[in-house]
């Protein structure tokens, strides 16, 4: 015969069990005859349950290798020797505890209130490659009177991993028949047919009982006691009243089941000692080692920044030439042709939007390359190892282990990192971590670091950017220790376990897709912020700053923009960059770091006529500014500037996120802390640096 299947999304009344499942038949699809005995097919997701169902019934149900494939109840006729039974494919479930809708449905169908509506036997599929994971369901079904047959699948996968299963020993340990099958090659089906038929004929099974739940009442014959009862002593099962969904009693029951599972696995499974160490194990011996591991991590990150800056540099130069050359000239010529040249409109478009936005656009290849490299590292599984290495370091320094996650997110963007502190159950940990997140170097700061590093240290740009990231990590650790030793001495450690996935070859599709995802997010946000900031900065640069002139006809150095920056500049003079042009970028950077470069580009673009502008001129202007403000120590001053940029307030969006998560008081403390740390470090770097450099 050719069995067909029908499916139902949910039985109308699960309390009536499988017999009540109202399947939507397709008219011509023959089912098992009315009154046929029912066999339920159960098992965890992703163990080959649907594949076996198809093999047994000849059905064409959807088969996939991802968890949760079976989301409906499938039904089909299964031809056993001399009898046709109704095979019901239950939703994937790890247990009969109602932890998910699938498990709830499976439990309701198997343990229907009416015993007559329950299946005649339950076939539980277990993956030989992950046997323990599949046996919890077996343990629970064995506690009922339902006859159970365990079917082992994925024997070949287990064999490749050096796992050998002694079916007979496992059968003894589980107290139910165990059959190995290979549904894809249709092996073991005869054995399964025979065993299931025998289970159906045998009737209700003797439930497995947790010895700890058995209360014996000694009958007194032959002097039997509770510890040494005789066979005729009455036995009662102790079932304490549950006081909640997850009680200590439930853990105790689950623990007993796992002890039973562990005994079964020990009895029936042998792992061959001659299995070759996997590549993952070999590599992990080095990359997660306590001393070598951090060094490898640093080397990998250095390589990422080196490759990023070296490879992206020619592309960046090309875009710079395009924007500051033909694009600016074409717009100027176009505006001149329609009579708008030389005025405010040309100034806004060419010196504002094109200079500002165009300069940031030149960083697209660089950001794209860095996102791609990070995506490749993530996809390969290496970043998980980096997490182990970094977490171990934080643990040794006494910082909360789980704070690692938001801090890692912070290296992308500080705003979601602050939101991610919600994962910390301890309020003090949340506040501490929220105060540390702004010290992680977000990707917006990267563009400024790259511009300054390539301008001032062209030969060692990658190393300089890497050093800034290293400084960021050091700041997080040191500030964390400082806060812990002053404000929160009582904060305890929080254990963190990292589950390492095996290494895999990165896929181009996934890596490119992740890169595009992040690049698009960067461009979308940066684009909006930059255009808005460019407009405000341009407006401020058009307004006279008290030294005479009229709107739109004032030199940029006499504008309100310059006046505000000059007011702040003396504070930063000890750090070697007390020039209004350098400080103006920091003022704008308080709003958003994405706008730092665009504001510089605007400022310097206004200072020279468009006709005389040269590609790469921004770097030359910056060189001159820092040379003049530092008294000839431009290199040291720019390092001090980068340290300041790294440590002070990331952006107003971060402040807003902090206020939402930890309140005004702590946000204010964080703001002051950032500014003080940034100033002290920048001054220290410059004052010490100029003595030795």
């Amino acid at each position: 015969m050719t069995p067909e299947t029908a499916t139902s999304t949910l039985p109308a009344d699960t309390t009536r069990g499988l017999a009540a499942a109202n399947c939507h038949e397709d008219g011509s699809a023959p089912q098992a005859p009315a009154g046929a005995r029912v066999v339920a097919l159960a098992g965890a997701p992703n163990v080959g349950k649907s594949t076996l169902f198809n093999a047994l019934t000849g059905a064409r149900r959807t088969v996939g290798n991802w968890p949760g494939t079976t989301v409906e109840v499938g039904r089909g006729a299964w031809a056993l020797p001399g009898e046709q039974v109704s095979l019901v494919d239950l939703p994937g479930a790890y247990s009969l505890d109602p932890m998910s809708p699938d498990e709830e449905l499976t439990r309701d169908l198997l343990l229907a209130a009416d015993p007559a509506a329950r299946p005649g036997a339950v076939v539980v599929i277990a993956s030989a490659a992950h046997l323990a994971r599949s046996l919890y369901l077996v343990a629970q079904v064995r506690e009922t009177t339902l006859p159970v047959v365990v079917v082992l699948t994925m024997i070949d996968v287990a064999a490749r991993r050096g796992i050998e299963i002694d079916t007979a020993a496992l059968e003894r340990a589980l107290g139910c028949p165990v059959v190995s099958v290979d549904p894809r090659r249709r092996r073991g089906h005869e054995d399964l047919d025979r065993v299931v038929l025998a289970a159906l004929d045998a009737g209700p099974a003797t439930p497995r009982v947790d010895p700890a739940r058995v209360r014996v009442q000694p009958c007194g014959c032959r002097g039997c006691t509770a510890d040494a009862p005789c066979s005729c002593c009455p036995h009662d099962l102790v079932e304490p009243a549950l006081d909640g969904e997850h009680t200590a009693y439930e853990l105790e029951r689950a623990d007993e089941r796992f002890a039973w599972i562990e005994r079964a696995v020990t009895a029936g499974v042998t792992a061959r000692a001659d299995v070759r160490q996997t590549w993952t194990d070999r590599i992990d011996r080095w990359v997660t080692a306590p001393v070598i591991g951090p060094l490898i991590f640093l080397a990998v990150m250095w390589a990422v920044f080196q490759v990023t800056t070296v490879v992206a540099a020619p592309l960046q130069d090309g875009l710079d030439q395009l924007v500051s050359g033909p694009v600016s000239a074409a717009v100027s010529a176009g505006l001149g042709a329609i009579g708008l040249g030389g005025g405010l409109i040309e100034g806004f478009l060419v010196n504002g939007l094109i200079a500002g936005v165009g300069m940031v656009l030149t960083f697209v290849p660089l950001m794209g390359l860095m996102f791609l490299l990070i995506a490749v590292l993530e996809d390969s599984g290496y970043m998980a190892r980096a997490a182990v290495v970094t977490d171990r370091l934080m643990g040794r320094l006494g910082l909360p282990g789980r704070a690692f996650l938001p801090l890692v997110v912070g290296f992308g963007c500080n705003v979601p990192a602050i939101s991610a502190t919600r994962i910390l159950p301890n309020a003090r940990h949340r506040i501490l971590t929220s105060l540390l997140v702004p010290f992680t170097s977000c990707s917006a700061r990267l563009t400024v670091f790259v511009l300054l590093a390539t301008t001032f240290f062209p030969e060692r740009a990658g190393t300089v950017v890497f050093a800034m990231y290293l400084t960021s990590i050091l700041l997080v650790v040191l500030i964390g220790l400082l806060l812990r030793s002053t404000l929160w001495r009582a904060v305890g450690a929080d254990p963190l376990v990292i589950d390492l996935p095996p290494y895999q070859r990165p896929t181009a599709r996934l890596s490119l897709s992740v890169m595009w995802l992040r690049l698009k997010g960067f461009l979308r946000t940066a684009g909006g912020i930059i255009v808005a900031t460019v407009c405000v900065v341009w407006l401020l640069q058009m307004i006279p700053g008290g030294g005479g002139g009229t709107f739109g006809a004032v030199p940029v150095e006499d504008s309100l923009y310059a006046a505000v920056s000059r007011f702040v500049a003396p504070v930063l003079a000890p750090a070697g960059f007390g020039d209004w042009q350098a400080v103006s970028a920091l003022v704008v950077g308080f709003i958003a770091k994405e706008a730092v470069i665009s504001s510089w580009a605007q400022t310097y673009a206004l200072a020279e006529p468009a006709s005389e502008r040269q590609p790469g001129a921004l770097g030359q202007h910056l060189l001159a500014t820092f040379e003049s403000s530092s008294g000839g120590h431009a290199g040291v001053a720019v390092v001090a500037f980068m340290v300041f940029l790294l440590a002070y307030t990331p952006c107003v969006a971060t402040i807003s996120a902090q206020k939402r998560e930890i309140g005004v008081r702590w946000t204010a403390l964080g703001l002051v802390l950032g500014l003080v740390v940034a100033w002290v470090l920048a001054v220290l770097v410059f004052q010490v640096g100029r003595l030795i450099w």
Partner: protein
């Protein structure tokens, strides 16, 4: 009673840093430890969270993986069913319902 689940929870409490360390500390097989952790995560006694880095500027609202309400869709700020990246398994105290 002190079975595999209790042993795994104790290992977490002792500050282990990897599942391999849990295996060594408990003396259980890797398969049983994996199953025990999976059960404790489903039961809500342990929390499994994906590691996410390189978030776009502007946060989850500007990320293509983000949810409509602006929250994370990748597990960066909450448990995720999709296990696409390395997984951090963190010990968390169960809160009463």
């Amino acid at each position: 009673m002190s079975g595999p689940l209790t042993a795994v929870l104790k290992a977490f409490g002792a500050g282990v840093h990897s599942v391999d360390e849990v295996v060594v500390r408990t003396g259980l097989s890797r398969d049983v430890v994996d199953a025990a952790i999976g059960h404790l995560v489903r039961a809500g006694r342990l929390e499994s969270r994906e590691l996410a880095i390189g978030c776009p500027d502007g946060g989850c609202g500007s990320c293509a993986s983000g949810q409509v309400d602006g929250s994370a869709g990748c597990g960066a700020s909450g448990p995720s069913e999709r296990r696409s990246g390395p997984v951090l398994v963190t010990l968390s105290l169960r809160r009463p319902h």
